[in-house]
């Protein structure tokens, strides 16, 4: 028995806890708040894009004189929207929250391998996120060189960029601690009988994600150190000779290369794309297997595809850099690897798609989000192919087409998967059920308005509208025909914001509801559902740690007395 009898204060139980479930919840709540903040920044920016030069209502006074958004402010909001959404929102939610809470439950361990490091990881993330926000209050405002921080612009930028780099150092440390923890936990602490090919796909995705974070983030740390040196000590790692900005000769010794930053940055940031999408695959797989009541089609193909995907993600980074003049032979190499990496993505999506075949599908809220994920991610993935080939990328580079492409992957892709995960595991965390009606309203409105925001971006992008225009392209003749779409997208974005009220209200009233007393309401097979209470026991998770006898998705086994056979059932 593992129940602790000594009394714990609120502070030790909820704030400085080392229990993986509490840390998971800390990650979850913090990152959901940041997602809302990041989205709010974009809703403000969309006003400027729809009605350029008009005073912004409600928050106008915070922005500048007369409520009109200054262009520097627009740049800051853009850079911080990207940074907050990726580094403070989606990754901590997908990896920090879901990974921390459910991975130990699914592999059958009482906690993560290093509980104190786990807590340290959360607090590093928390401090890093505060540092990022402090940027808004330093002279010159927050970082305004895009979330990619390309030099020389970022080196000559205002103080906010220094704060951004310091924030990154904290976030990188946090993700380093988190990824080591997940890796050691999966390798060392699997329950008896939980062999590699019996792991739920969710665990596999977290495992591969952890490897990507472990190995891809340090080069960005190196790059951040170099950029800090450029900004603070006056080195010229990224500053070319003879640089002139706005007619002023820059006081740098020169001899450096802006391209170096891009290489180091994208060496992180391309694996980062898979960090964003892999946990989503994991959640979607759990939800789909559960709600089709049949095994996943092609479990092994999926695992091998994911491992291959993780490996390949390290050698495709320069497909973000076709127009930098790095040379056609290098371009040819990265086009080839980029085409190759699309194969495992298609394998994974196909296995999910074929898993639906012949299932008796239950259309509950998590399943609706999961079903929407498949075509939405499909659109995101397929629109990426023209960007992976230099010839078409030269036309599309830095246009709204790119924005549409990666938002389809991350917003109706990953974020839908995260919503699916929240609705799916809510009964496990709280012992209560969410409201299905509100959940479905949340889904349908989100689904419609997500497409309303991102589909027109492809049209604008193909027309050649650049992604970084403060006025949304008003002064360009080639944008004139597609300019009306700015208003469509902006209104969709605000309505999408309103649709999230269904989610927030749902969470509040569901939390205030009564416990149902069911431990396994979805009839799931994995041991997080079958062998723990809802919510799981404080320290220790399990009454006794189960032994695993079966694969993770034994639904509707012929001859069985119920339509799911738990992993921990003998036979």
């Amino acid at each position: 028995m593992s129940t602790d009898h000594h009394k714990e204060s609120f502070l030790t139980k909820y704030i400085f806890s080392t229990d993986h479930k509490i840390i998971g919840l800390q990650y979850g709540i913090t990152s959901l708040v940041w997602l809302l903040v990041g989205f709010t920044l974009m809703m403000i920016m969309r006003y400027q894009l729809a009605y350029p030069g008009n005073p912004v209502p409600i928050v106008g006074n915070l922005l500048g004189e007369g409520g009109i958004m200054p262009s520097e402010m627009y740049n800051s909001l853009g850079a911080m929207h990207g940074t907050i959404m990726i580094f403070l929102g989606v990754v901590p939610l997908a990896f920090g929250a879901f990974g921390n809470y459910f991975l130990p439950l699914q592999i059958g361990t009482i906690d993560m391998a290093f509980p104190k490091l786990n807590a340290a990881s959360y607090w590093m993330y928390f401090v890093g996120s505060i540092v990022m926000i402090v940027g808004f209050f330093v002279p010159g405002g927050a970082a305004n060189s895009g979330w990619t921080s390309y030099p020389p612009l970022s080196v000559t930028a205002t103080m906010g960029q220094t704060v951004w780099l310091l924030g990154m150092v904290f976030l990188i440390t946090s993700s380093l601690l988190g990824s080591i923890n997940i890796l050691v936990t999966v390798i060392q602490l699997r329950a008896k009988g939980m062999t590699w090919m019996k792991l739920p796909i969710f665990v596999w995705t977290q495992f591969i994600t952890a490897f990507l974070l472990l190995l891809a983030f340090p080069p960005l740390e190196a790059a951040s150190v170099l950029q800090l040196m450029d900004r603070l000590v006056g080195t010229s790692f990224f500053m070319p000779s003879g640089l002139v900005v706005s007619g002023v000769v820059q006081n740098y010794t020169g001899g450096g290369s802006p391209l170096l930053w891009q290489h180091l940055f994208w060496f992180l940031a391309h694996p980062e794309v898979y960090v964003l999408i892999l946990p989503a695959f994991g959640i979607i797989t759990e939800v789909i297997a559960n709600n089709t009541r049949k095994p996943i089609w092609g479990y092994k193909a999926m695992v091998y595809a994911m491992v291959f995907l993780g490996f390949m993600s390290f050698i495709v980074w320069a497909h973000h850099m076709y127009i930098t003049g790095m040379g056609t032979s290098i371009g040819a190499f990265f086009q080839t690897t980029t085409m190759i990496i699309s194969i495992p993505s298609v394998v994974i999506l196909t296995t999910l798609f074929l898993s639906l075949w012949g299932g008796s599908i239950r259309f509950n809220t998590p399943m609706l989000f999961a079903l929407a994920f498949i075509p939405m991610f499909g659109i995101g993935g397929l629109t990426g192919l023209p960007l992976g080939l230099a010839a078409s990328d030269i036309h599309l580079h830095d246009t709204y087409y790119v924005i549409g492409h990666f938002h389809y992957v991350v917003a109706p892709g990953t974020i839908f998967a995260l919503f699916a995960g929240i609705y799916y595991w809510f009964p496990k965390i709280t012992g209560k059920r969410t409201n299905e009606t509100l959940g479905k309203l949340h889904f349908f409105f989100s689904f419609i308005f997500m497409n309303g925001v991102f589909m027109p971006m492809f049209v604008q992008g193909l027309a050649g509208v650049s992604r970084r225009l403060w006025d949304g392209g008003e002064i360009y003749a080639h944008a004139a025909d597609v300019l009306y779409l700015n208003e469509v997208m902006s209104i969709s974005a605000w309505l999408l914001g309103l649709a999230q009220i269904f989610f927030i209200v749902n969470m509040i009233i569901s939390l205030r509801g009564k416990k149902t007393g069911e431990t396994n309401p979805w009839g799931a097979t994995t041991i997080d559902w079958t062998d723990t209470t809802s919510p799981p026991l404080g320290h220790g998770n399990f009454e006794t740690v189960p032994t695993v006898y079966r694969g993770p998705y034994e639904y509707s086994v012929p001859g069985a007395d119920k339509d799911f056979t738990p992993q921990s059932e003998k036979g």
Binding site: M1, S2, T109, I110, D111, A113, F114, P115, L176, S179, I180, N181, L183, V184, I187, Q188, L189, L214, L215, A216, F217, P218, P219, L220, E221, A222, A223, V225, L226, M229, V233, G234, T235, S236, F237, T253, G255, G256, S257, L260, H263, L264, F267, G540, V545
Partner: protein, 196 residues
């Protein structure tokens, strides 16, 4: 219930948790220094002119420092081996020697740095000096970090030897792995910066 394999090895991996953890951490450190070494190669191949390290930097002092660090790696292993042989006094001696050698390294580095500044050679002077100060500076930070941990186990942390000797021995092994890595980084830095 306790977390399994904190001290004992898991049979199928042959590792305890901490040892696997430090190996993964070192993997990420390889990527960190690998990124910086790549930056060095990128900058050097793209530069119009690049000085020879030996013309600017002090090779004899760096050779001395190399000796200090290699010796400190040896004493680090000896301190762990002493614990395996249950000879706590010898552990104290060897860990103390490791600290002393590391401190000597820092003293020499301090003189090297001040001599450079004295001659008007700063990180901003050119990219060679920039990358030199960045790489060695980061390495020095790693040395200081290692020294803090070794000092902790040498003085206040050593009482764990009484309560949980196996775990204490494992901790020294983990610190040792880190220390050898820091040593290894210097083995790469020395020729790359001073000799090539």
């Amino acid at each position: 219930m306790d977390i399994p394999y904190t001290v004992k090895d898991r049979p199928d991996t042959g590792l305890y948790n901490g040892k696997l953890g430090i190996w993964l951490f070192l993997g990420s450190e390889v990527m960190l220094f690998g990124g910086l070494f790549s930056a060095y190669v990128f900058l050097r191949t793209g530069a119009e002119s690049w000085p020879t390290g030996a013309d600017i930097l002090n090779v004899p002092l760096a050779t001395l420092n190399t000796l200090f660090l290699i010796t400190s790696s040896v004493t680090m292993v000896m301190s762990w081996a002493s614990l395996k042989l249950k000879e706590f006094d010898k552990f104290k001696l060897y860990a103390g020697l490791t600290l002393l050698l590391a401190a000597s390294f820092l003293v020499v580095k301090y003189f090297e740095y001040t001599a450079k500044f004295h001659h008007g050679l700063f990180p901003s002077t050119n990219n060679f000096l920039g990358i030199y100060f960045t790489l060695t500076g980061l390495h020095v930070l790693h040395i200081i970090g290692g020294m803090i941990v070794i000092f902790f186990f040498w003085m206040p942390g050593a009482k764990m030897w009484e309560s949980d000797p196996d775990r204490f021995t494992n901790r020294i092994e983990i610190v040792g792995l880190y220390w050898h890595f820091v040593d290894l980084v210097w083995i790469f830095l020395f020729p790359v910066l001073y000799l090539l």
